[in-house]
Symmetry: C2
Subunit: 219 residues, 2 copies
């Protein structure tokens, strides 16, 4: 492996943590909002890419949150919306992330994500990890979303490495399928023991955490 | 309006009816299987279209059902799978459909659906509606899925009518967004009082059933 590319949301950064800030603004509904919001956020990226009506991830994320609040029939104003949305800039990393990045420090590392450049850099900086990565790559210049194969090509172009020499790591089954379909070597970080997606393609590695993946792919 | 184009699954035909056949094969799990299956079925059409790994709707539908069964940790064999999948060829129409099609009989009518040609023709024939439609159009020759704008263009090509003179009717909010984004005049058949999708686009009509739509669009 010549380089390692990480997905951000759900892979390095725990998106389920937003349930807490949701619950402060909408007591008793934090968990439900968080789940519906994440599901709609993903749906909207796929639908907008397919419809060719790209809006950046900040806008998509806002729309998805609004949908969840409407669905639950919850009243909100702009300030409440902005408070909840700001949580995406300070998501905590999963506990295995700092040690794993340290273990991989001699490799070329990148992030490839649906987020905007601004969102991603704020997120990585707030986590104190900006100097760990050679590249933080956003889909935004392409105006499409994962799993469009053009997104994965961004990492190949930035790193200048053949795609099968790139280890792509994601916790999201659909992202794993997209990355493997593109031609990366792929590790599925199945942190929560989910069942595999039935998309006719399997990752090269399936592990429960990053340290297990390092053990299997690099030793 | 020069022609009317209907979505099939969830719009003319009630996909939630499969809960019953699921429940016969997997007692106590019918409702849950039905909901997870439908959700995954849609996700897989979007993901496969974006990944450019098209498989026809029969294959996608099978994969989505398998995912739902794995997720619920239910044992199955091929015969059980085939029995459940066969229900997609005999879905009942919603109660307003026969009367609405009769009222619209002097117009040119078509179906435009993600289903394969074979699945759609069997479905429409089993419902006794084959002679009501001028065209039954499948995405299959294009090897992509809704809401890719090329799918909606299929209906324009088949009908030879300008797209804004075509009334497109769907119960699925994301299909409504895709059709309106493409340029059809669009009626959202919001049978179950769902909240609107936040995709930055609204239908021309929102109604609770087909007869209300006919009343508003044609009188």
């Amino acid at each position: 492996m010549k380089a390692i590319v990480f997905d951000a949301y759900g892979t390095l950064f725990d998106v389920t943590s937003v349930a807490e800030v949701c619950d402060k603004q909408f007591p008793g509904y934090g968990q439900q909002i968080s789940e519906m919001w994440r599901q709609k956020q993903l749906e909207y990226t796929w639908l907008r890419a397919l419809m060719r009506r790209y809006e950046d991830f900040a806008a998509v994320n806002r729309g998805a949150l609004q949908y969840a609040l409407h669905q639950l029939n919850l009243w909100y104003d702009n300030e409440m919306l902005n408070t909840v949305l700001a949580s995406y800039l300070t998501l905590p990393t999963f506990p295995d992330v700092p040690q794993a990045l340290h273990a991989l420090r001699t490799h070329r590392l990148a992030i490839l994500s649906n987020g905007t450049q601004g969102m991603l850099e704020a997120l990585v900086r707030n986590a104190g990890l900006l100097w760990n990565f050679d590249h933080v790559l956003s889909v935004d210049p392409l105006k499409t979303y994962k799993p469009d194969p053009r997104v994965y090509q961004l990492a190949v172009n930035a790193l200048g490495v053949a795609k099968e020499r790139i280890l792509f790591i994601s916790s999201n089954g659909w992202d794993v399928a997209g990355a493997k379909s593109f031609g990366f070597t792929v590790g599925w970080l199945n942190r929560r023991g989910k069942v595999a997606e039935e998309l006719g393609i399997r990752p090269d590695y399936e592990v429960a955490n990053l340290l297990e993946l390092i053990e299997r792919a690099f030793r």
